[in-house]
């Protein structure tokens, strides 16, 4: 499951560029943003699954603005990696966004973003995952996305969301169960295969 996340993890920023960024060097800032924009954008896009899509870009920008302003106080030798620290900021901003009243109803079938040449089966799977994620409570979705798509371990998730480990594990279990139940109904052929194997 972690292959999803590992495949998307960017190379860490080198030490000198990080130091330059901490001192306000614009070129280093740009490198940092370009290096981490994909995971931060992906995280916020997924956390807002089917909701407030128009806010994704603004939240991504806001995440980086806050990252850059707080960067001088970031300790590279601390417990969180730079990426985990940024994802924490992004997660909190996204959860804040989700607490706001949403003028539009939840999208029952979030828009697929796959390219036109994506196989139909994969498009169907993407659509089912998106709908299942959108149906999860935001707190469960955050835990699941951080674990499955960004490879954060339980402790990192607990820190990011200010939860205890037990809560992280229980939310993750509930989220996985709920998503699986949704997918079994939406894609019975895949769920059935698993049950037979297990």
């Amino acid at each position: 499951m972690t292959a999803v996340a590992i495949a998307r993890r960017p190379e860490p920023l080198d030490e000198l560029t990080l130091r330059r960024a901490q001192r306000g060097d614009e070129r280093a800032w740009r490198e940092l943003v370009e290096r981490y924009q994909q995971p931060v954008h992906a995280l916020i896009w997924r956390l807002l699954a089917g909701r407030a899509r128009h806010r994704v870009e603004d939240l991504v920008q806001e995440t980086f603005v806050r990252v850059l302003r707080a960067l001088p106080s970031f300790d590279p030798s601390g417990p969180a990696s730079l990426q985990t620290w940024m994802l924490t900021i992004a997660t909190r901003l996204a959860l804040n966004e989700l607490r706001r009243p949403e003028p539009q109803p939840l999208a029952a079938e979030p828009t697929s973003t796959e390219r036109a040449d994506t196989p139909a089966e994969r498009r169907r799977l993407a659509s089912a995952i998106a709908a299942g994620m959108a149906a999860l409570p935001a707190a469960q979705r955050a835990v699941l996305v951080l674990r499955e798509y960004h490879d954060l371990d339980y402790q990192e998730i607990a820190t990011a969301l200010e939860l205890d480990l037990g809560t992280v594990k229980s939310r993750l279990a509930r989220a996985r169960t709920a998503l699986r139940e949704h997918l079994v109904v939406a894609l019975p052929e895949l769920g059935g295969r698993h049950d037979r194997r297990g």
Binding site: R20, D25, H41, I129, L190
Partner: protein, 360 residues
């Protein structure tokens, strides 16, 4: 029984794929990051109203405290006396008073200070400050971490520490790091000011300007190994570089530590003697960006390649790749695509494909 971790195993979750980040994201972020913090577009979570009142009260108290401690932009009068030690990053023009000695800080200037009797030890790693040093005080400024110090008594002087991005030099090494070079300028208006570096002290008389430049063989960019030029060291530069100092050993003797410590210490000798080449990587990058924005991808490619010839920088590789794709230069596109990290390739391959070029 299904193990909890395997609950979703039958489903390829990567199918739920986000779109790529919007183009120009970094530009937008940098523009917003330079705005005052109050201009932030996203508010924090809206908690119940009572929290708003509490937060408002806290903000009001904080504002009063800040107003007492710090004079904000435009303050004509000197600020209140600072404690015996502290640090500040000026978010606007500020006046800092350390007893009878004071400094007018430009926005963005970073200063740390510690008073030891009549001596005030200051670290000014970046920014510009005009110092007025009391006749009874001795101000010692470590500027820009260049192993140089400025000592002033009963003086008025301006110290400017700038990152000299335009003066990019290339070091032939296997390193993959890069850093900007600090250029320190000391302008003396009145009083007694000495600049000491490497055991050599220069008296800077009122009405003159003294520049502390990086030592040519120590303070330059370290870059990746794949596109490197070599040229003999230009001896004409040595008259601008004060005598070398070997005052500190870095904590470690790897290349990164040596670059950060300005190649201080004997253990950095192997990195210090690397030959360097003067060149300008920044101007052609800027020119290329402009040409790309104007739709002249072929010219932009030439510019990005000129930058790459100076410094092998990932950003320049990416821009060269994009320019090659857009100018339909398949050979160049494939060459630069191959130089991209795997994570970038999957993100950027569509640029060439849209132009009818398979980048692989």
């Amino acid at each position: 029984m299904i193990d909890e971790d395997d609950l979703l195993a039958p489903y390829d979750l990567s199918a739920w794929e986000p779109p790529p980040p919007p183009a120009g994201l970094a530009d937008a972020v940098l523009a917003r990051a330079k705005e005052p913090p109050a201009a932030s577009a996203v508010e924090l979570a809206r908690e119940p109203r009572r929290w708003g009142w509490i937060a408002g009260g806290v903000v009001a108290v904080a504002a009063v405290v800040i107003a007492i401690l710090v004079r904000l932009p435009g303050a004509a009068a000197p600020g209140p006396t600072a404690p015996a030690h502290g640090e500040v990053i000026a978010d606007g023009a500020r006046t800092l008073s350390i007893g009878a000695t004071s400094a007018a800080l430009d926005p963005g200037t970073e200063v740390r200070w510690r008073r030891e009797g009549r001596r005030i030890l200051v670290d000014q790693p970046r920014g510009r400050a005009t110092w007025n040093v009391d006749a009874d005080d001795t101000l010692v400024i470590d500027a820009g971490a260049m192993g140089a110090s400025v000592e002033a008594t009963g003086a008025s002087l301006r110290v400017e520490v700038e990152m000299n991005l335009a003066d990019v030099r290339t070091i032939t090494t296997s390193g993959v790091t890069a850093m900007a070079v600090a250029l320190v300028t000391v302008v003396v208006y009145e009083g007694h000011v000495n600049v000491t570096r490497g055991g050599q002290t220069v008296n800077v008389v009122p009405g003159t300007t003294h520049e502390i430049r990086p030592e040519p063989s120590r303070s330059e960019l370290a870059v990746g190994a794949s596109s490197i030029e070599q040229a003999p060291f230009d001896d004409r530069d040595t008259d601008r570089a004060p005598e070398r100092t070997v005052s500190r050993e870095p904590a470690r003797c790897d290349e990164v530590s040596c670059v950060l410590s300005n190649y201080a210490g004997e253990c950095c000798a192997e990195y210090r003697d690397i030959e360097i080449t003067d060149c300008d990587a920044v101007a052609p990058m800027q020119r290329g960006e402009q040409q790309l924005a104007n739709g002249d991808a072929a010219a932009a490619l030439v510019s990005f390649e000129a930058s790459l010839a100076c410094v092998h920088d990932l950003r320049a590789v990416k821009r060269a790749y994009i320019a090659a794709c857009n100018s339909r230069n398949a050979a160049k596109a494939r060459r630069y695509f191959a130089a991209l990290p795997a994570s970038e390739r999957s993100r950027l391959d569509q640029i060439c494909i849209r132009n009818g070029i398979s980048p692989e």
